[in-house]
Symmetry: C2
Subunit: 572 residues, 2 copies
C-alpha cells in the first residue's frame, strides 16, 4: 500500500514538504489542500510587489527557473494533487481523515491519511475596532491584497496611508509606499518604539530616524481607536492622540497562528495558539507534523517553546518534514531568532534575545553598544555600523546581538556569525571577542566590530567603566541642572569647540589634551564623557582613572549613535 | 616591584598586547622593541596604498580616530616605551633578558623581563634565484616598499609587472597594479591553480577568469627560474616556459615565521618554524608569550598545530596576551581558517578545509557545489553566488566551505556563519541545512544557498545523484568520442536549442519536456545533464530516475559555473 499523505496549507512549508517527500518516496499518494486560489508564493516579497520593484505577481510564485507554481505545475512536475480553493473543515484523528470543502462548489469530501502535515500558516492580527471592514483596509499576506494596494498607488488614488504596527511587515510596507509612490505614510505603534519585540529602544530610534528622514511619520505610544469611512472606503484613522487622513490602511500588528483545526482535534498548543512540535516537527500526535507559521518550536537560548514566523524557517522545516514523512529521522534544532530588514538608508538585523526579552526570561542581563566602521578605517569605501550585545552578567554568556548599518549585507555577516554561535554553543563574551570572521580591508576591520563590541562588554563586566547609551547621555545632558554632571567632549578640538561655543557647560577636552588639562576637571562631580564613537572617550577615561578620577560615565557609540537616533537636537 | 614586560615586534600583535596589558595593569614597565622605523601599521592595507585608493602611508598607521601611531604616541598616550630601529639579537631565558641592538647607532643593551612577548611576525618567502636582489624586485610587507612601487607607477616607469605567487597578497597586488595603474600584470603560480592552498581548483578557475577578464595574465604550473636586469634594475623574468618583460617584480610566495630568536632559545616550533603556543598563547616557556604571524596555534578542525598569518588573528591574539600578561587567564581557541579577498568583479571567501586539504588530513571527504542567486529570485537586485561544501562521508561532518560571488559582503555572511559553526561545534550536513541565517528578500533566499548547498550534499551522500563539477563536465564533453556519454541540456528551449544547432550531440531537452521525450534518451548510455545552475537538471534526473534511467551525472552549478570558470569555450 502506498503511503497516503495529506498536507494542509500550500504557501511555503506545505509544497516544500510535499516535494521532498515525493523525491524520497516517489510512490506516495500525496494531496495538498489550500483554501486560496494562489498557492506556493513568496509572501515576503509582497512589499516589493506593492512598491513596484517586482513587476508581476507571477514572479512571486515562480521557481528559481521562472516556471509558475500553479496546481498543474505540482501535479505534472512534482507528482502530487493540489486542491486549491479548498478548506480543511475538520480533523478526525481516530479515523485518520480530514474533511475538506471546495469553496467554489460547496462540495465536501473526506481525505484519509497515514501522515498529515499542518502547514496552515498564520493570519494577521486585526484589532476589533470600528471601521476595520471598510474598503482599502488591508493586511499584507495575500497576493490579491497586494494587487489592490499597488493598483491604488498606480492610479494615484492614495496620497495618505496609515500603517498600524511598526514591525517587519509594517515597516517594509511603509518603505514601499513612501519610497516608490511618494505616499504620505504614518506608522502607528502602540509600544514605546518600533520593532519593540525584537529591538532595544536605541535601535528602534535608529529605525525611526531613518524613516523620518524619508518623510515617514512615526507615532510610538499611540493606540488606534477606530477608522472612519466615506462611501464605504476608509478616509481617516482616529487614534488616542490624533486624527489622520488615510485612503489606505494596512494592519501589520502581528500574527495569529491558524491552529483552530489542530486545537479542535486536541493537539497541544502554546498560549498564542501555535502548535507544539518536537525536534522531528511532530505534533503531540506522532502521525501529524506541523511547521512554519502555525507551529511553535523550541527557542534554543531559553529552551522554551516559542514562535518565529519567517518564510526561511518554513522552508527549512518543510524539508525536514518531507524527509520524515518518507520515513527519515531528520531533526530541526529550534531557533535563536535571526532576522534582517532593509529600511531606506539603513538595514537592521538581529539574532537571539534583546536585553528586555532576556530580563523577561529571567536572565540577569545587560547590553553594551559599539559604533565602528564596518571596514578597515583606512579603506576608502566604508560605513558606520552599530552593534548591541546582550550578555548574562554572572556567566558572561552572550544571549543576543542587534545591529544597524547602511551596509546591510555586511551587517548580516556579523549577525549571522553570532547566530550560528548561538545555535551550536553557549558562547561567552570571550568567544565573541575571538570569533573568527573573515578579514580583508574591503570587508572588515582587523579588530572587527563584532569582536570589539564583545571586548567592550568584557570591559563593562569587569567594572572597567560605566556605560551609558545615547538616550541616557542626552537625558543626563537635558537634566544637567539637577544632576550636576560635568560633560566632556573628547573629540578633536574643532567639533567639540563648536558645541562648547554654543553652551559653555559642554567641555571640549580632546583626548590628546586631557592629561595636561586634569586641573579643569572637578574631582567632586560625576563626569559624563562622549566622543565620536566611544573609542576616544574610553581612552580618555583610562587617563582619568589613572589620575584618580573614577566616577565617569562613558557614552557608548558616541555622537554617531546620538545622530543615528535623532537625538542631536537635544545637545548644543 | 612593577611587572617588567618586553614585547619584541611592533606591527599588529605587539602594540595590541602592550596597550591591553597597560590598561589592566597600568603600573607595568613595558618596553616594545622593533627593528623598523615605522611600527603599528596595517600591513593588509599596503595593496590599497600601492593602488592609490589609500592616499598616504600615514593612513595605514593611524588610529580609528586619525592619530598617527608613532613611538611618541605610544609613550604619551599608552604609557610604554618604544625602541624602534632596534633589533632583538639574543634571548637568555635563564637570565630572563633580551639583548637588543640599535641599528642606527650600533649600541647594544640588555632588557630584563618578567614576561616576554614574541611578536616577531613573518617575512615573505623569496626563492633563492638569480636576480632576486636587482632593483624593483620587491615584497609587499613594508611601508617603504609599497611607497617605492606606488611612485614607480605614478611616474609611469612601470608598464609590465610580474607577480610571483598567486596567493592573497599576490592577487591583491595584481588587482592594485592592473586596476588603478593599467600595468600589464602577469601572475606566475607554481601550483595548478590560484590560491591552491586554500581553494579548490573550481574556484581557483573562477578567480583566474575574473583576473583574465581584466587583462591580468595568469600562468599556473609555471616555475620562476631567474630574473634578468639592465643597469641594476629588473627587466625580465625567465620561467620554465617563457620570458616576460617586467620593470617590477613582486614576490608573494608565502611567509616564513621570524622565529630564529625563539628557536635559538630552545622554544618549541613546528615544521615551518612557527612557535608553538598553548590556548593561553604561552610558548613552551610559561613566561614567554607568542602570537600573530610568528606563532603556531591549533587548527580546531584537525586538532593539529597549524599556521594562519592574518592581521585579524594577530589583533585578537594580542588582546588575549595583554590580558594574560596582566595576570588574567584568557584563552584563544585556535582557528578554523576563515578569510576573504576582493578581486575585480568577484570576491572569494572560505572557512575550514578544502576537499584536498581534508583528504590530506586523513578525512574521507567529498565536496559538493551549488550556484544560486544570493537574494530572493524575485528581488530585482541580485547576484549569483557559488558555494562549495566539504563533507566527511561517514560522519556527514562539515569540514569547510568556499565561495565566490560579486556580492562580497553577502558571501562573507554565508562563510562567516559557517565559520562560527565550525569554531563551536562539529556541524553535520543537517546542521548546515538548518543553519538559521537572517532572511529578507533583499538579503537572502528563503531557502538560502548556504542551506541549499548542504541539502545538495545530503542528496549526494544519500546516493540520490552523482555530482560532477563544471571542469569534469566539460572534460566529459571534450572526450565524448571516447566515453559515449549522452549530453542533455535541461534549460528552457531557447538557450539549449542554440547550442544544439551548433552541435547535434548536445541535446536540448528542457525540464518541462523531458517526461514526454523519454524515448529520445538512450537506456544503454551514461547520461550527463546540465542546466543553468543545477536545479532544473536535478529535477530532470528525478524524472529520469522515476523512469528507470539512473546512470546520470548532474553538472553542479550548471552553465553558470562553466562560465565563471571560463570553460564555456569548450562547449558548443
Amino acid at each position: 500500500m502506498p503511503l497516503k499523505v495529506v498536507v494542509i496549507g500550500g504557501v511555503a512549508l506545505g509544497p516544500k514538504a510535499a516535494c521532498r517527500c515525493l523525491r524520497l518516496a516517489p510512490d506516495s499518494e500525496l494531496t495538498l489542500v489550500d483554501e486560496n486560489t494562489y498557492i506556493s508564493y513568496g509572501g515576503c516579497g509582497l512589499p516589493y510587489y506593492v512598491s513596484g520593484e517586482i513587476q508581476t505577481l507571477d514572479a512571486l510564485r515562480s521557481t528559481n527557473y521562472q516556471v509558475v507554481r500553479d496546481p498543474e505545475f505540482f501535479r505534472r512536475m512534482k507528482g502530487f494533487n493540489v486542491l486549491n480553493q479548498t478548506r480543511a473543515i475538520s480533523l478526525d484523528r481516530k479515523k485518520k481523515a480530514v474533511r475538506v470543502k471546495n469553496l467554489a462548489t460547496g462540495q465536501e469530501q473526506e481525505l484519509p491519511y497515514d501522515k498529515l502535515v499542518l502547514a496552515t500558516g498564520a493570519r494577521p492580527r486585526v484589532p476589533n475596532i470600528e471601521g476595520r471592514t471598510l474598503e482599502n483596509v488591508h493586511t499584507l499576506t495575500r497576493l490579491e491584497a497586494a494587487d489592490v494596494m499597488r493598483k491604488a498607488c498606480e492610479t494615484g488614488s492614495v496620497t495618505d496611508a496609515v500603517i498600524v504596527g511598526g514591525g517587519f511587515i509594517g515597516l517594509e510596507s511603509a518603505v514601499a509606499l513612501a519610497d516608490m509612490w511618494g505616499v504620505n505614510v504614518t506608522v502607528l505603534e502602540v509600544n514605546s518604539h518600533l520593532m519593540s519585540g525584537v529591538l532595544p529602544n536605541t535601535m528602534g530610534l535608529m529605525a525611526e530616524t531613518d524613516l523620518k528622514k524619508h518623510n515617514v511619520r512615526v507615532c510610538p505610544n499611540e493606540k488606534t481607536l477606530r477608522l472612519e469611512g466615506k462611501n464605504g472606503s476608509v478616509c481617516r484613522v482616529i487614534t488616542d492622540k490624533q486624527s489622520i487622513d488615510a485612503q489606505l490602511v494596512i494592519f501589520a500588528a502581528g500574527f495569529i497562528p491558524n491552529s483552530e483545526l489542530a486545537r479542535d482535534a486536541g493537539l497541544e498548543t502554546i498560549a498564542n495558539g501555535a502548535i507544539v512540535v518536537d525536534e522531528y516537527l511532530r505534533t503531540s500526535d506522532p502521525d501529524i507534523y506541523a511547521g512554519g507559521d502555525c507551529a511553535s518550536i523550541k527557542n534554543i537560548i531559553t529552551q522554551k517553546h516559542g514562535y518565529l514566523p519567517l518564510g526561511s524557517m518554513s522552508n527549512r522545516q518543510g524539508r525536514v518534514i518531507g524527509t520524515n514523512l518518507a520515513g527519515g529521522t531528520d531533526t530541526f534544532p529550534g531557533y535563536v531568532g535571526t532576522w534582517c530588514i532593509k529600511l531606506f538608508d539603513i538595514s537592521i538585523a538581529a539574532a537571539g534575545l534583546t536585553v528586555t526579552n532576556a530580563r523577561r526570561e529571567g536572565f540577569d542581563a545587560i547590553s553594551v553598544c559599539a559604533e565602528q566602521l564596518d571596514r578597515a578605517h583606512f579603506y576608502p569605501e566604508k560605513d558606520m555600523m552599530a552593534l548591541e550585545i546582550v550578555v548574562e552578567k554572572g556567566t558572561r554568556r552572550v544571549l543576543g546581538m542587534q545591529g544597524a548599518s547602511r551596509n546591510g549585507h555586511g551587517l548580516k555577516a556579523r549577525i549571522d556569525a553570532v547566530a550560528a554561535a548561538l545555535q551550536y554553543a553557549k558562547p561567552t563574551v570571550n568567544d565573541i571577542s575571538n570569533l573568527e570572521v573573515g578579514y580583508a580591508p574591503p570587508f572588515a576591520a582587523a579588530m572587527d566590530i563584532v569582536n570589539a563590541v564583545a571586548n567592550t562588554a568584557d570591559n563593562v563586566l569587569s567594572g572597567r567603566f560605566t556605560p551609558i547609551d545615547a538616550t541616557e547621555f542626552t537625558k543626563l545632558w537635558r537634566e544637567r541642572d539637577k544632576n550636576n554632571i560635568f560633560f566632556i567632549d573628547a573629540r578633536p578640538a574643532k567639533a567639540g569647540k563648536e558645541m562648547e561655543a554654543r553652551n559653555p557647560e559642554w567641555h571640549a577636552i580632546p583626548l590628546e589634551e586631557i592629561a595636561d588639562r586634569l586641573d579643569e576637571i572637578p574631582k567632586d562631580r560625576e563626569i559624563a564623557i562622549i566622543c565620536n564613537t566611544g573609542l576616544r572617550s574610553y581612552d580618555s577615561l583610562l587617563i582619568l582613572a589613572k589620575n584618580g578620577i573614577c566616577n565617569v560615565k562613558n557614552s557608548m557609540g558616541g555622537m554617531q549613535a546620538v545622530k543615528q537616533m535623532g537625538l542631536d537636537e537635544f545637545l548644543p
